[in-house]
């Protein structure tokens, strides 16, 4: 039983990578720590459940990394994906700290493996968790428990008592035991974003948000973020933005995770519910091309689209959870997709006629392109002409949101007037917008979580002692 009448040195709200790194680092610094995870035990860990790697800088190849990835190169990649929407001082600090995280996280029981099939393009930059994100979480939880961190599941925080930027207590609501006031000297907020809060998404996306699928658990509702912003914490990141990829429309509403994604866009064309193409399917190379399609589909009527290809490319991409929908003719396929057959036939005929001769190579920006149609397919354009014709229906799959709390290098929250909070820290997705204003690079969310989680825990422990 956790004694909730005592006053903890550090209260961590959240249960993912950032929360656990904060809890462990605070505990190792001598603090008493309570972790409140809003989800049930099985769903603990928020988006960390679905991750599988972390991007850390390193000066030389290791057993699991194929070559060096310098701080400068990491910084340039971050600059590129964010288009400059990043806090350079914080970002460079994070990148520098990421080097040591490679070892620190192993000391917390997490195991690495080299990148294997399907992810070789990340073999130099990203370190993969053996067994994936849930294995990583399990290791962190085991370590936290062994160190004596108190952990509660199904522990929903319904209010925060904050006075003038100083955290005093949290109102805890549990299925059994009801409401309790939890007191602590410091707070680490590591409770993620609000991607599972459809009502909140609707504020920016309107009714379209009803058609979004959420790739993580239904527990990422942003309640803590909302409370903090309402109580004077400075916000950062574009509230209207979220990271979205195209995932299978047949996926469950929540928690479909990695296995619902599609990486077949470049091998065919993408049409909307009017059977019309709407964007250059051959614009850019993986993984950048992968990240834009969620937003593109979100902008289409009814937020639905169809990746259409033919039988010649079926083995060109990873096997999928849901099988492609097949038709012996374009018309039959259109019928199964409930698209206008004539319109789809015309779209494909026009596309096929526009394809120019070239040498196909999906690993580079090749010279297979179309001419004379809008939008063009600028690379990897090949005729769709060998039945059966195949299709995947796709919808926007929301991965994470960018809105967060502003922090400094101590991971300490900044208030609206710019002053640092007396005793409140934030780590993980809830403050990712400081570093990642927009865009995405594989594994960077975990870097943000581990680096700032570790810092927040250490600083919170120090703060609690003073």
């Amino acid at each position: 039983m956790v004694d909730l009448t005592r006053r903890f040195d550090v209260l961590v709200i959240g249960g993912g990578n950032a929360a656990l790194c904060a809890a462990i680092s605070a505990r190792r610094a001598g603090a008493s720590v309570l972790v409140l995870e809003g989800a049930p035990k099985f769903y603990r860990g928020g988006n960390t459940r679905h991750t599988r790697n972390m991007r850390c800088a390193h000066d030389a190849a290791t057993e699991i990394l194929t070559g060096p990835y310098t701080e400068e190169e990491f910084w340039k990649d971050l600059l590129l994906v964010t288009g400059g929407q990043t806090d350079e001082e914080l970002a460079r600090f994070m990148i520098h700290e990421s080097k040591d995280i490679l070892n620190w996280i192993v000391e917390q029981g997490v195991r690495w493996q080299p990148s294997l099939g399907g992810t070789l393009s990340l073999g130099r930059t990203n370190s993969f968790f053996l067994g994936g994100g849930r294995a990583m979480l399990n290791a962190l939880y085991r370590t936290a428990e062994e160190l004596g961190v108190d952990i509660l599941y199904d522990a929903e925080v319904i209010d925060l008592n904050i006075e003038d930027g100083m955290f005093l207590s949290a109102q805890l609501k549990q299925p059994v035991g009801g409401r309790t006031e939890v007191r602590a000297s410091t707070l680490v907020a590591a409770a993620g974003g609000f991607e599972a809060n459809i009502e909140w998404l609707k504020e920016y996306w309107g009714e379209a948000a009803d058609n979004f699928l959420i790739r993580g658990t239904p527990f990422n509702r942003g309640a803590i973020l909302k409370m903090l912003l309402a109580k004077g914490v400075q916000e950062i990141g574009d509230p209207t933005q979220c990271h979205a990829v195209a995932i299978d429309a047949r996926a469950p509403k929540f928690d479909g995770g990695i296995i619902t994604r599609h990486d077949s866009v470049v091998f065919g064309i993408v049409v909307n519910k009017h059977a019309a193409r709407f964007y250059d399917e051959g614009e850019d190379i993986w993984p950048k091309r992968y990240a834009i399609w969620g937003r593109l589909v979100a902008a289409q009527p009814d937020q639905i689209a169809y990746i259409i290809f033919d039988s010649t490319v079926v083995t060109s991409f990873m096997p999928t959870l849901f099988p492609p929908i097949a038709g012996a003719t374009i018309a039959e396929l259109a019928g199964k997709l409930e698209l206008d057959a004539t319109a789809l036939e015309k779209t494909i005929t026009d596309f096929n006629a526009a394809v120019q001769p070239g040498t196909f190579d999906h690993t580079i920006l090749d010279d297979c392109r179309t001419e004379g149609i809008t939008p063009a397919k600028t690379h990897w354009a090949r005729r769709i002409e060998t039945p059966p014709y195949l299709a995947y229906p796709v919808r926007p799959g929301i991965t994470f949101t960018y809105l967060g709390t502003r922090v400094n290098k101590q991971s300490r929250m900044l208030m609206k007037d710019g002053r640092p909070s007396a005793n409140m820290f934030a780590a993980g997705e809830i403050m990712a917008g400081n570093v990642l204003g927009k865009g995405y690079a594989a594994g960077i969310g975990m870097t943000i979580g581990s680096v700032f989680g570790r810092v927040a825990g250490r600083e919170a422990a120090k703060n609690a002692r003073n």
Partner: protein
């Protein structure tokens, strides 16, 4: 699509796993899965027998129950594995022995022990059965050596024949041409992987058994059991050689090689099975193929009885209990031999064959010759 509902479910899971692949570093099953996009019955039986049931992929899976994708690979493959033993059993008429294996094995063991006791009593005077015999040839006062060698030799030969026929069916089912000789390197790799139980370690931390804290206990107890069994077998072989080549008759002194090997092996075969059984009872039910509990328990108990009766015989061989103990021990060993092809023993054979296949596939992939 598939021959059984179990294989249907295994196909569903492998399709889920093949679009995720987070577990590819844990063991051999997932890399083997990644070499395929679709799964035949034979492929699934191959993957099922490649699985060592370490449980890591269940604990690590974000889609395990209560998630709606309901991914439970260790349990599904355990069920498929047990069903594959029956599917490959030779002769086909005996496949049913796997259905209520615990009962079948117990009955055969009891009948075998009874046959030896009654046999000894029938062919010997009462005084011989309960008499005290010492010195070379003491055991053969109860049963002539040649009769013993013939009976056990035939039982062993039959077991080997039935096992070879089963492996033949398995090898064909998983898509390898029968009669094709595998390369020595793959064979050697498989010997090493099986000998170390390389894939019974959750990818490095140990097995997941009763909870999500990994341990190496199952591996350790399996090593005790397996190497104990090998030592006992070696003891028998050395004894046979002594008899025919050196004309030295059992029983041997405690320091003699057959006794040393047999005693060490016997201790392994006591410690190992007790450990395995206790781990099995502790095991999280969600990972367990309940249908196969009888089969697993029967096999573990048979090994335990083999060693415990053998050790008892060693301890009391110079007393009047020797006769009955010899009958008991021989009865158990005879039952073990003839039930080998129809019980859990086959897991070692099929898993080894799957490891050979895996080693071959890896080598072929490395050489770029994969289909």
């Amino acid at each position: 699509m598939h021959g059984t509902r179990t294989l249907q479910e295994a196909d569903r899971l492998m399709t889920v796993c093949n679009s995720c692949r987070y577990c590819e570093g844990l063991c051999a099953v997932f890399p083997a899965m990644e070499m395929r996009r679709a799964f035949s019955d034979g492929d699934l039986n191959y993957l099922a027998n490649l699985c060592h049931s370490c449980g890591a992929c269940y604990t690590d899976c974000q889609f395990s129950p209560p998630h709606e994708f309901n991914v439970n690979v260790p349990k599904t493959l355990a069920v498929a594995r047990a069903e594959s033993y029956a599917a490959y059993a030779w002769p086909r008429a005996f496949a049913g022995a796997f259905a209520r294996n615990g009962l079948v094995i117990s009955l055969i063991a009891a009948l075998s022990v009874a046959a030896f006791i009654f046999g000894f009593a029938a062919i010997n005077d009462r005084g011989v059965l309960t008499g005290i015999h010492t010195g070379p040839g003491a055991f053969y006062k109860l049963m002539p050596h040649n009769a013993m060698a013939l009976l056990f030799g035939l039982a062993l030969l039959y077991a080997i024949l039935a096992l070879v026929m089963g492996v033949r069916a398995f090898w064909r089912d998983i898509g390898e041409p029968v009669g094709m000789t595998t390369d020595a390197k793959s064979l050697l790799q498989a010997v090493r992987d099986a000998g170390e139980l390389r894939y019974l370690d959750g990818g490095g931390v140990g097995c997941f058994n009763e909870d999500d804290h990994p341990t190496d206990r199952r591996k350790l107890y399996h090593h005790f059991t397996f190497y104990g069994f090998l030592l006992c077998f070696a003891a028998t072989c050395v004894g046979t050689l002594y008899h025919y080549l050196l004309a030295r008759e059992a029983p041997y002194a405690w320091w003699d090689l057959p006794v040393v090997l047999g005693t060490l092996g016997g201790i392994g075969l006591v410690v190992g099975p007790i450990g395995l059984l206790s781990e099995k009872w502790k095991r999280d039910r969600v990972l367990v193929d309940e249908q196969a509990m009888g089969m697993d328990t029967a096999f573990i108990l048979m090994l335990f009885l083999t060693s415990i009766t053998g050790l008892a015989l060693l301890l009391w061989r110079e007393t009047a209990a020797m006769g009955p103990l010899l009958a008991l021990h021989l009865g158990v060993v005879f039952a073990l031999f003839i039930t080998m092809p129809y019980g859990k023993f086959v897991h070692g054979i099929y898993r080894f064959v799957a490891l050979v296949r895996y080693a071959r596939e890896r080598r072929m992939m490395a050489q770029g010759k994969a289909e």
